[in-house]
């Protein structure tokens, strides 16, 4: 187990270095550096101005040299300053991360709980009425564009019924204000997110329920709920854990479309704005954080799978 963790940590370190280089390189190679865009929008910029600004911001140096300088600073804990938000990059990221976690943690928990529940219900009688309904909900969740569902919910709950705010962070930091402002974006993401859990759970549970040990458990008189939850679910959990790990990784990369529709200043929106606005420091830090959490989630999923399935430990 320890060896596996050690190997994974070494792999993670290499992946982080490669990711940071790839991210830096891709951002640096994007068409239109900040000076190009400034020239296009400001007729007063002369050729000499462009040259002076490129030198001042180090954009006249080779990309590798710029990356190494950034990496040295990052290793020293200095992630630079955000040019869009005029604050240290890590502070900008912290605010957006809190907003994203406030939105996505309850959403992920709700998606998982409801999705797994629906999957179990559907697996009890495949091709039955409940299964058909769950399938329909799952397909709708997968097929429905998030912006469409978001707008629909805004029109229903904010415009027509007037029950909930249409979006934005709460004007005052009270719990009730937070809950009211989180309701619609959370509902949107939950509906969309539960589909994957429901489908994975249904498929894995149907397979598990067909195994001989389930028949044995039933023959020994175990109740249906005990058979489902104690015998079938742990065996069906491996693919669900994988879905959960992937979902966990998205907690720090945000939900761009839903954040945009609901004017929620989270990580997805921040990363999008940072890339478009040439805010290298913020974009890189956000991408690195997403990579790190994805790696951590993947490692956690592996460890949980090892715990769930003794065969994998051999």
């Amino acid at each position: 187990m320890l060896r596996l963790i050690g190997e994974r940590l070494v792999q993670a370190a290499v992946t982080v270095v490669l990711t940071s280089f790839a991210a830096y390189g891709l951002i640096g190679l994007m068409p239109g550096d900040p000076i190009d865009l400034a020239i296009a929008s400001d007729p007063r910029l002369s050729a000499a101005d462009a040259e002076r600004l490129r030198a001042l911001h180090g954009l006249d140096r080779p990309l590798l040299e710029r990356y190494l300088a950034w990496a040295a600073s990052a290793l020293a804990g200095e992630f630079g300053f955000s040019r869009l938000f005029a604050a240290p990059a890590h502070e900008v990221l912290a605010d957006a991360l809190i907003n994203s976690l406030a939105l996505l943690v309850p959403t992920t928990i709700a998606s998982a709980a409801i999705g797994i529940g629906l999957g179990i219900l559907a697996a009890r009688r495949p091709r039955g009425a409940i299964d058909a309904v769950v399938n329909a909900v799952a397909f709708a969740g997968i097929a429905m564009p998030s912006f469409w569902l978001g707008i629909l919910l805004i029109i229903l709950f904010a415009v027509m019924l007037g029950w909930l705010p249409a979006g934005g962070p709460p004007p005052e930091p009270t719990l009730s204000a937070w809950l009211r402002h989180l309701a619609l974006p959370s509902l949107t993401l939950t509906v969309l997110g539960l589909a994957a859990y429901a489908r994975q759970t249904r498929a894995a549970m149907i397979e598990a329920l067909g195994e001989p040990w389930i028949r044995t458990a039933r023959a020994k008189g175990a109740s249906l709920s005990r058979v489902l939850l104690r015998h079938a679910l742990p065996n069906a959990a491996i693919p669900i854990v994988t879905v959960a790990a992937l979902d966990f990784a998205t907690l720090v990369s945000g939900a761009l479309v839903v954040e945009t529709v609901f004017a929620w200043p989270g990580m997805g929106k921040l990363l999008y704005d940072a890339i478009l606005g040439n805010d290298y420091n913020v974009a890189l830090l956000a991408l690195l954080l997403a990579a790190l959490v994805t790696l951590a989630a993947s490692l956690a999923a592996d460890l949980i799978q090892l715990a769930l399935d003794p065969r994998l430990r051999r």
Binding site: D42, A47, D49, L56, V159, P171, A263, P265, L270
Partner: protein
């Protein structure tokens, strides 16, 4: 003012256009409220210096001195915008939420008329469908046109919600136009360029797409500009004339209706614009159909704004036509877009905005004379000639001046959208609740 000038002159501060700070070589302070600016050249634009604005030296100087290179992103306006002493208008910033909102409250130091509203919150809602829903839900009271709903969406909303809100369509200085790449042999022929203009019915475009609520542009000079000359000849919608000109230029209809020259080359261009801009994409499709009717093939190829402006247009890589907008501010001498020395090239770091590659000796001379002709009446004939050359040489096809849709509730009055570069909050102290 002296501090702002000193900070701008310092190379390490990294101000973009340095010409103003080079040309403005001295400031003489007469008293606490009076100063004289000394320039090294005479120009009529002396009273249009928008980039030099006073900064509160007692707050900002120490920050600048600590690190001039970082100053541009570390001013108090960026880091602590709610700090008293920064704002001089009727309102001051009291709170900000990054990416979400700015809260303004009455500025106690404002010496003008006290604004009726105690607090104004400016919210960011980027998705326009969500913005409309926010308005209908009462979560925002008004939508300022500068960055609000696209005109077609606002017009559709007006049909449904005119009883709840006032809709004010304000034509502005921004004009949509098509830059022609004059390096292409076909577009280098003036007759082809004139045919392109004769083939399009701009009145119909404006009528069909914007319900006639935006003015057609025949020139880069806005009709509200005192130097606009309505007697400059205009090229009318005349498809027959377009066909005749193309015949004269050696472009004959081929079997598929698209014209070809003697070498068998098709009369075919790319028309590019910013991907995702719905109104531009609609205009493109209408233009494509109108040009097809006279035998000109137009292929639409759009790019994200960052690529389009940062690479394709600024490096003159568009193969035919580029549709985008410029601002036509009053008496703005169009040197950077029409002077032959302003054609972007690698040798000049791609600076300059003469993306068409227009070269015209008389235009160059006019653009050099205009800024140093101080008497407005002496400038008038120069401006007329500039407009005349623009209209007859056709380096650019002007389409229409954009209009902004301002929407506010019926209980609010006194809002006066400007139509120029100042935002609609310019006279915010006049906003009041209908008694």
């Amino acid at each position: 003012m002296v501090f702002a000038w000193e900070a701008g002159r310092e190379a390490a501060t990294g101000i973009g256009p340095a010409e103003l700070y080079r040309s403005l070589h001295r400031i003489t302070v007469i008293d606490a409220r009076t100063f004289t600016l000394h320039f090294d050249k005479l120009t009529f634009e002396y009273n249009a210096i928008n980039e030099l604005r006073p900064l509160p030296a007692h707050l900002e100087r120490a920050i600048w001195q600590a690190d001039p290179r970082a100053y541009r992103t570390r001013t108090l306006y960026d880091r602590e915008p709610a700090r008293p002493g920064l704002w001089s208008g009727p309102y001051r910033v009291v709170a900000t939420q990054a990416g979400a909102s700015i809260t303004l409250e009455r500025n106690p130091a404002w010496r003008g008329r006290e604004p009726p509203f105690r607090r104004i919150v400016i919210r960011t809602v980027e998705n326009t469908a969500a913005l409309e829903a926010n308005l209908l839900a009462g979560q925002v009271d008004m939508i300022a046109g500068e960055l609000g709903l696209p005109l077609d969406q606002a017009l559709a909303l007006e049909r449904r919600a005119a009883t709840r809100f006032r809709f004010h369509i304000q034509p502005g200085l921004v004009y949509e136009h098509i830059d022609l790449n004059l390096d292409l042999p076909a577009l280098a022929d003036r007759r082809v360029r004139e045919a392109l203009v004769r083939a399009i019915d701009r009145d119909q475009i404006v009528q069909r797409l914007f319900e006639g609520r935006v003015p057609v542009a025949h020139s880069f000079v806005n009709p509200l500009d005192r130097m606009h000359d309505p007697t400059v000849p205009r090229i009318p919608y005349d498809p027959e004339g377009a066909r005749r000109l193309l015949d004269e230029a050696g472009w004959r209809p081929g079997p598929d209706g698209i014209r070809r020259n003697a070498a068998g080359e098709r009369l075919s261009f790319e028309l590019m614009t910013t991907a995702g801009n719905r109104s531009r994409e609609l205009v493109q499709q209408v233009l494509q159909g109108m040009w097809r009717a006279v035998g000109i093939e137009v292929r639409i190829r759009n790019e994200p704004p960052r690529v389009f402006f940062g690479e394709t247009v600024s490096r003159r890589r568009f193969q035919g036509m580029a549709l985008f907008a410029w601002i036509s501010s009053p008496e703005n001498v169009p040197r950077t877009i029409l002077h032959s020395t302003e054609i972007p090239s690698e040798a000049r770091n791609w600076a300059g905005q003469n993306y068409t590659g227009f070269r015209h000796a008389e235009m160059d001379a006019l653009l050099e004379r205009l800024p140093i002709t101080l008497d407005p009446e002496a400038r008038r004939p120069l401006w007329r000639r500039v407009q005349e050359i623009y209209a007859t040489e056709i380096p650019v096809i002007p389409l229409f001046f954009r209009a902004d849709a301002h929407i506010w509730p019926r209980w609010l009055e006194g809002v006066r959208p400007t139509g120029h570069l100042a935002p609609s909050s310019l006279w915010v102290e006049e906003w009041r609740v209908v008694p």
